[in-house]
Amino acid sequence: MKIALFGNPNTGKSSIFNLLTGLRQQVGNFPGVTIEKKSGVFNTTKNKHQLTDFPGTYSIYPHSKDEEIVYNALTNSDHEDFPEMAIVIVDASNLERNLLLFTQLYDFNIPLILVLNMWDVAERRGIKIDVANLQDHFPAAPIIKMNARIGLGKDRLIAAIDELDDKAKKDSFIASSFPCLIDDKEAQNEEVLLRYEKIREILQDVQHEKSSIKNTLSRKLDRVLIHRFWGYFIFVAILMVIFQFIFSFASIPMAWIDNSFVMLSSWVDHQLPPGLLNDLFSQGIIPGIAGVLMFIPQIALLFFFIALLEESGYLSRVVFIMDRLMRPFGLNGKSVVPLMSSVACAIPGILATRTIADWKERIITIIIAPLMSCSARIPVYTLLIALVIPKTYLFGFVSLQGLVLLALYFLGIISALLLAIVLKKFIRAKNKGFLIMEMPEYKKPRWRNIFITVIEKVKVFVWDAGKVILAISIILWVLATYGPAGSMEEKIVLAKKTEFYNHTNEVQKLTIISSAKLEGSYIGIMGKIIEPLITPLGYDWKIGVSLIGSFAAREVFVGSLYTIYAVHDESDEHQNLLTHLKMAKKANGAPVYSLATGVSLMVFYVFAMQCMATLAVVKKETKSWRWPLLQLVIMGVMAYIGALISYQLLA
């Protein structure tokens, strides 16, 4: 049976969803809108059910295009998400407001169950609810008391679903014609006011507040956490702890994943007979998959922290204190989390912009998100810094290399904000959104919910980014393996004639040949074609090849330098590669990787939109090629100009 979950935001709807379905859930989209659709299966004693989690709303009437899904699914029985049964979750500590949506759903001809959730919070606040009396007012809907955060009441809910199965529903809350037309705001307002009047009347008998006990702990915490000084101080401190975890501790599992894939790839290389299939797997597909899985530790850690802050109720305080600061940039307090996420990876960051109700603020957040330096840029930054920045210390203890890395991050952040200001002037708002939101009370986080969120986000990253990165890795492999007739052979013959080739060992000979092959391949030729364009930036065709390779994922830059410079050994923190790169000379004898070229490359990587997976996600989220293309062009121009200026100034 198709069952749907409805409820206001912050009623523990997702706790109940997780409680019923566990990990048997999947995330998709509702047809035609960008609202996340979570669905899953679960069993009751009698039946197997399909559960769909509808977005949290206060009413069935939409305020944005995306919210129309609730109205559309309910009013059209041919709709693919039309439910056969509804479970309405209400916050027992705030019955009046929560019952509005319930009474609307009650007036559809769908069997439904009313769950009074957060029973404990209501008790703590001194609210007494006469459930039997409430039940008398809604005879068609069985009422269940639950405390989903600790799993209390699950059995009662499952039993109620089984019992309700066969019952036909015949009752309604208000007699007038319902529902109103989707754009008849006046009639909707009237209906809502009428419902509230009746609800308040009912609640006079049903609900008794002993005294309004204020949640003193929550208020005390708020006094500190939204304080004009301590509020920001604590937020920055929390950010620093999070990024410390992401950068230092995630590197351990990342190295582990990296090493095991290098091993897998060489194992495949030895097992399969030499040839194209072998190369495709050991050089195309396996490194492609490794490039995706490598980032899981960082992404999982970041989302663990974000979910923890969200679950505890702190994140809405961050929105509250950051909103005013973000507004001059055309952003929203809710832009903070997507931008934070983008430091790990822009893809989950862009998906997280769905919470921003204002269309313009959301688009701006999406466009600037990839300017935050993501984890795929770290390998590029560290290699380039090791290459051109001396290992010196300022004042004896501030590492210059560390300082440059920090500067690159800030360059990303500052240019993101500046771009936002420009976009604010040019993008026309379709419809104005509101910040109006409820600030939940602080709660102890539920580990199970956090765990499920992390798994979900990682899954989204692996699928959304993974398929694009993998596809492009294969395309790049083809471009690097094949070349115009005779071109690669010619380069190999040339390479074999050199003095060095004839006096070196077998392993080195092989790497020289693969480097020569690459030079003659399509991608090598492409590198040479773009050379005139990138010479003003201080790059040669070899760097050009690596730049093209980076369009699969930025970190491919490092791997393609290995191939192109015929460096075999990938160990020792790139020592071998660094030595080779430092020796590389231009025609006039000057080193290729001068300070100017190195800095120019770093600046290029800060700005350039070199991630096809992100572009694909932006297309999906904005439903138009316009925004990803705009992003590609703007960031491309910024990268080119930024790199040009830095090279010309330093050279």
């Binding site: 305020h63 606040r125 939204i226 929105v319 509250f320 204190i321 005013r324 109006i436 409820e438 600030m439």
Partner: protein
């Protein structure tokens, strides 16, 4: 005395008179706001905007740009 919600100070208790913005009206009445409802301004964010009000036992945050469309009067003590 009638004024807008954006003009009140922290700790002030007021009663809603009416909401003067058509789109905001729908949103706010769905969240349970109605004429005669008592509100209290709990906090202002640093820089004075947005604000958090207590309404029916829960906390609602709004920008001053939104609050200015809510007309209120001081509650009798």
């Amino acid at each position: 005395m009638s004024k807008s919600l954006s003009e009140i100070i922290v700790g002030e208790k007021v009663t809603v008179e009416k909401i003067t913005h058509p789109y905001l009206t729908t949103k706010l009445i769905e969240m349970g706001m109605h004429a005669g409802l008592k509100l209290e301004l709990l906090y202002k964010a640093p820089f004075g905007d947005p604000i958090a009000i207590s309404m029916n036992g829960s906390i609602l945050t709004l920008r001053l740009d939104e609050a200015k469309f809510i007309q209120v009067c001081s509650s009798p003590l």
